[in-house]
Amino acid sequence: MDETVYQIKAIIVLDNNGKRLCSCFYDPPGTPITPLTEKDKFEKLIFEKCKTSNCELEIIDNKVVIGSKQSDVWIFVVGNSLNSNELALLDVLNTLISLFKKACATDESIMITKKTFLENYALIRLYIDEIVSDGIIFEVDEETILNRVPIADNAAQSLNEAIEMAKEKAKGFGFGFL
């Protein structure tokens, strides 16, 4: 019955080249930690399968995988076994996408792109953490999560300002080399 409550094996976000942007693999207590090589192999397999077959519903390595393409970013939710209920996985995926869109929204667009994903990385990680807790579906109601981690909160703004600071600093650093 472990798989009944530990429903989520992984949440994986890849870019258009299959490069990892964010991966959370969940290993319930008492099970071995997934080695990095296994994660890399699994992600490569997912990307190859979904890219070549234009398929967002797959059984890979005896796990149910549900995915979605968002402009230049791929988002996948991996069930823990063949016994996963696909609709529970879909709930998680839909909530992830909806919150990512809010996090990545700009004046010009509500698309999730690699650029906006990375620029709002901390906020996105907080959202993932509120949706799945070590493989257990923790919350899938969007409003509830937004109340717990408000977008309008300082985190986003201060992060943007910090990004600008970092860029200024990088420029200075580069100038120093010249």
Binding site: M1, T4, V5, R20, C22, S23, C24, P28, P29, G30, L36, D40, S53, C55, L57, E58, I59, N62, I66, S81, L82, N85, E86, L87, A88, L89, L90, D91, D107, K115, L118, E119, Y121, A122, R125, L126, D129, S133, D134, I136, I137, F138, D141, T144, V149, I151, A152, D153, N154, A155, Q157, S158, L159, N160, A162, I163, E164, M165, K167, A170
Partner: protein, 898 residues
């Protein structure tokens, strides 16, 4: 929402974090020590650490600990966004840091903080670093949090407790009352988490689980997640208790009508897995799945068709109402859905709709990739066994796949499928050969052409008009590369050998090959021409028709092992090579691997392979072959008790002593030595709540005088799911004859219960035993297969003075085909002259077998058989020839008892 201005500059094309350097970021942790704390700067640094961790950068324990310690300074900050990130970072680092325990006092303080965010996050981190000595001190806070009204805090406590249940089960179990109270929380997720935790707390008390589940059924759960979980609990109760109480099944049935699709699907799927399911129940469940097949949501279609695909394997009739809906899914834009629909339809199709179905699938093939096509090919192959009369449509369909664009892997799978159909349905041979001839006219893969030429050479001369194939074969000589030309030359020669009217033409064609630019082609043509001119039919047969009788991969492995062992005192024995073909794995529909098959040797009886063309003639024997002694000899010779037994002469096939679904799964291999027999028992414990120790098999022989007990080697510890071996060795005296007898057997062991949440054993355990099937030592245990080039010639050489003729009846054997299989199985000898192939519906047949005793005396057997007048038994005249009369008597004794 505040507007954010996107600043344009030269760095726009660079992605943030892309060139992050771990060493530099570690230096940045200085920001955590600054006073006062700068939230914006610290937030950026935390983001960078999170990215590095997720990217896969590894931190040493020291590095992780340093960062962890630095981050704990942020507990002073009152900036809530920064605190959120701090908690996240600590959570990520807590499992890879040393001395994470340092934050317990800070987290404990946060557990009683007035801000819910602090309380929830503190709890979630604490469950990662707490242990059985710390938990009692903070138990009070956990219990308070579980019954907290705020769902963030309550869920955090409940989910953390689910994790903690594996760490400190005794303590968490004390919170059952609080968890029960939390089920009434207004939040759907809290209700779900509380149910999951309470169920797991009571999991080892079946009566308590049953009571909990039935109570919750009466008090309606609100949360869809809780309802789905409760359905699984019901399934568990039904399967584990065989309860007569209908409340559990009725609840699942009522959930079929849920408006929440996740719940309705969970209910339908559960009903489809019931072992004893009523027609009413299954029809209702299938009805729900049928609706889902027409959903606009791909995930719902996928879930439904996947469940129906599984159901079609156990209950195909139940799936038939969905056929039309699934036919619409053949063209689904989602390829997984389409492929599942196809393979399900192929499982439940009936004879009248097979043709239409194949046509629909053919139209769709261009849209799917090779991996999915292989799944379809596999399903078509299975279909041919169900509907042999439809072979024409199936062959044409497979041929279409063969001709389309595709990888070598797909082509090989398709060719294998065609060969399987031809082997199973002899009537399909001519149409298949015709299609394959067309194919090799324009084939991009030399390996496939060679295989097909081999098949044409072997089967073409036996068809109604052999001449038609010659043009295609000779075109290969004119148009293709050297390897293919060489194969074509051999095929041409086979026609000359097997079809007398074409002999002269074949000679003419071979003469034209003498000028070929390729050595191999010229050499073959030269050899065959010489043999034809000398009319050396015996040698032509030997050169052209005698296939290597074993799979080439297995032959290669055995030869490599022979060379590696370095003992060349005896010549390499081809009879020792296994003829079991490796199983082909379906990429999409393969079931999850059971732990019981991990590490266990592959059982001969369970192997069903797709034969390669050069192994086609061995297809009938796959299930009867011994595994090669080499693979066992190495292992057994490393066991000191057996090292003095000498050379291992033979190992038997696997003999199942239990059913595979029982608590303990046992099979046996008999290893025959000159004066000893070793029984190897492969044992698997399929109960995860038990560990067995001191496992052995008690064997009681039916005739103790024939043999003496030598020794027994038990299994010290047999955990769940890990197959291991125990052994019993006996001694016999060959001069006194073979120790043919039977044994009654029992598995004896000590049982220790395992607590699944802690892994602890319940000492000291208790002794128990488990009955096994009877085991027999039979004549074929002392016989090996042998291979001779020309049976009839060797048969004539053997004196009739020493031959033994015996007639008997195979009672209840109603067909010649069955009689042939039974005789081959009983004697364990190799069929010769392809005599194991029986004309369908034949009333009489002659079977030739060759074998040898363990001391290498050759044995020839001819079995003439016919159905008796009543058509219910088969009369057999067995003639046995060898140089040893007593050996003949021994062979016939295999049938005397019947």
């Amino acid at each position: 929402m505040a507007s954010r201005v996107q600043k344009k500059d030269d760095d726009e094309s660079d992605f943030l974090f892309e060139n992050l350097d771990k060493g530099q970021v570690i230096q940045e942790k200085r920001a955590f020590n600054e006073s006062p704390i700068h939230p914006r700067k610290c937030s950026l640094v935390i983001s960078q650490f999170l990215y590095l961790l997720s990217r896969g950068d590894s931190f040493t324990k020291t590095e992780a600990t340093d960062i962890f310690f630095a981050a704990t300074k942020l507990f002073q900050s009152k900036d809530i966004p920064l605190r959120r990130l701090m908690y996240l970072l600590l959570k990520e680092l807590s499992t890879i840091s040393q001395d994470a325990i340092i934050v317990i006092s800070s987290l404990t303080k946060d557990m009683s903080h007035k801000i819910e965010l602090y309380r929830a996050n503190a709890i979630r981190i604490l469950c990662k670093i707490t242990d059985s000595s710390i938990l009692p001190q903070i138990e009070r806070y956990f219990k308070q949090s579980i019954v907290e009204k705020d769902p963030h805090v309550s869920s955090a406590a409940l989910v953390s407790s689910i994790h903690l249940l594996k760490v400190c089960p005794e303590i968490v179990k004390r919170w059952a009352n609080e968890v029960q109270e939390a089920i009434s929380n207004k939040s759907n997720m809290v209700q779900y988490h509380a149910l999951a935790l309470l169920h797991r707390i009571k999991q080892h008390d079946r009566l308590a689980v049953s009571k909990l589940v039935s109570n919750l059924i009466k008090n309606s759960l609100r949360s869809p997640y809780a309802q789905s979980y409760l359905i699984r609990c019901c399934v568990e109760v039904i399967e584990e208790t065989n309860t007569e109480d209908r409340i559990f099944r009725e609840y699942i049935e009522s959930c079929l009508r849920s408006k929440n699709e996740m719940v309705a699907y969970e209910a339908a799927r559960s009903i489809c897995t019931f072992k004893n399911v009523s027609n009413k129940e299954i029809n209702s469940a299938v009805g729900v799945l049928q609706n889902f097949l027409n959903s606009t949501k791909p995930t719902l279609r996928f879930a439904a068709v996947r469940t129906l695909n599984k159901l079609a394997q156990t209950n195909p009739t139940a799936v038939i109402p969905c056929n039309l809906d699934m036919e619409n899914l053949i063209t689904d834009t989602n390829r997984s859905i389409a492929t599942l629909a196809i393979t399900t339809l192929l499982k439940v199709g009936n004879e009248s709709n097979v043709e239409r179905l194949i046509k629909q699938i053919a139209n769709f093939l261009g849209d799917i990739n090779d991996e999915f096509k292989i799944v379809v090919v596999d399903a078509i192959t299975s279909l041919s066994q169900k509907f042999p009369k439809k072979y024409k449509h199936l062959i044409i369909f497979l041929n279409k796949i063969l001709r389309d664009e595709g990888t070598l892997q797909l082509k090989q799978a398709t060719l294998d499928a065609i060969l399987t159909v031809v082997n199973n349905i002899p009537e399909s041979k001519e149409i298949a050969l015709t299609e394959l001839c067309d194919y090799i006219e324009d084939c991009d893969f030399p390996d496939l052409s060679v295989q097909i030429l081999h098949l044409i050479g072997q089967e073409g001369p036996l068809t109604s008009s052999p001449a038609q194939y010659m043009r295609y074969i000779y075109n290969r000589v004119l148009l293709d590369g050297g390897i293919i030309r060489a194969a074509a030359v051999t095929s041409i020669a086979k026609f000359g050998l097997l079809y007398e009217p074409m002999k002269e033409k074949v000679v003419i064609l071979l003469q034209r090959c003498l000028l070929d630019e390729d050595d191999e082609v010229r050499d073959r043509a030269t050899l065959y021409l010489k043999l034809f001119k000398e009319n050396d039919v015996r040698y032509l047969n030997k050169v052209l028709m005698d296939d290597v009788p074993v799979p080439l991969n297995n032959l290669q492995k055995s030869l490599e092992l022979y060379l590696h062992q370095g003992d060349f005192s005896e010549p390499f024995d081809i009879a020792s090579v296994s003829t079991v073909v490796e199983t082909y794995q379906s990429p999409l529909l393969g079931d999850g691997k059971s732990p019981f098959s991990t590490g266990a040797s592959k059982k001969g009886d369970s192997v069903t392979g797709t034969p390669k063309s050069n192994n086609a003639s061995n297809n009938n024997n796959n299930n009867e072959e011994s595994s090669g002694p080499e693979s066992f000899a190495t292992k057994l010779s490393q066991i000191p008790q057996f090292s003095t037994f000498g050379k291992l002469l033979k190992s038997s096939e696997y003999i199942e002593l239990t059913e595979t679904e029982t608590e303990y799964v046992v099979n046996c291999v008999k290893h025959i030595y000159r004066e000893h027999i070793v029984f190897q028992f492969n044992c698997t414990n399929t109960l995860n709540e038990q560990q067995l120790s001191n496992v052995s098999v008690k064997m009681v022989p039916s005739d103790p005088k024939l043999l003496k007990y030598e020794c027994s080697i038990p299994i010290d510890v047999l955990p769940y799911g890990e197959p291991q071996q125990c052994y019993v060795a006996i001694r016999y005296i060959p001069a006194n004859g073979y120790p043919l007898c039977s044994f009654s057997n029992a598995l004896k062991f000590k049982v220790k219960e395992v607590d699944p949440s802690t892994g602890e054993l319940d000492e000291p355990g208790y002794d128990d035993q488990y009955s096994l099937e009877r085991l027999e030592i039979v004549p074929k245990d002392f016989l090996n297969r042998a291979f001779v080039g020309n049976f009839s010639e060797e048969w004539k050489k053997m004196s009739e003075d020493t031959q033994l003729v015996q007639t008997f009846s195979l009672v209840g054997v109603k067909s010649i085909d069955e009689a042939v299989k039974q005789i081959i199985k009983t004697l364990g000898m190799a069929p010769a002259e392809k005599s194991e192939v029986v004309t369908p519906k034949s009333a009489k047949h002659i079977l030739y077998l060759t074998g040898k005793s363990l001391n290498n005396q050759l044995i020839y057997v001819r079995a003439r058989m016919k159905l008796d007048q009543s058509q219910t038994n088969t009369d057999v005249e067995l003639t046995i020839k060898s140089d040893d009369e007593s050996l003949n008597d021994f062979v016939i004794s295999a049938f005397i008892e019947k």
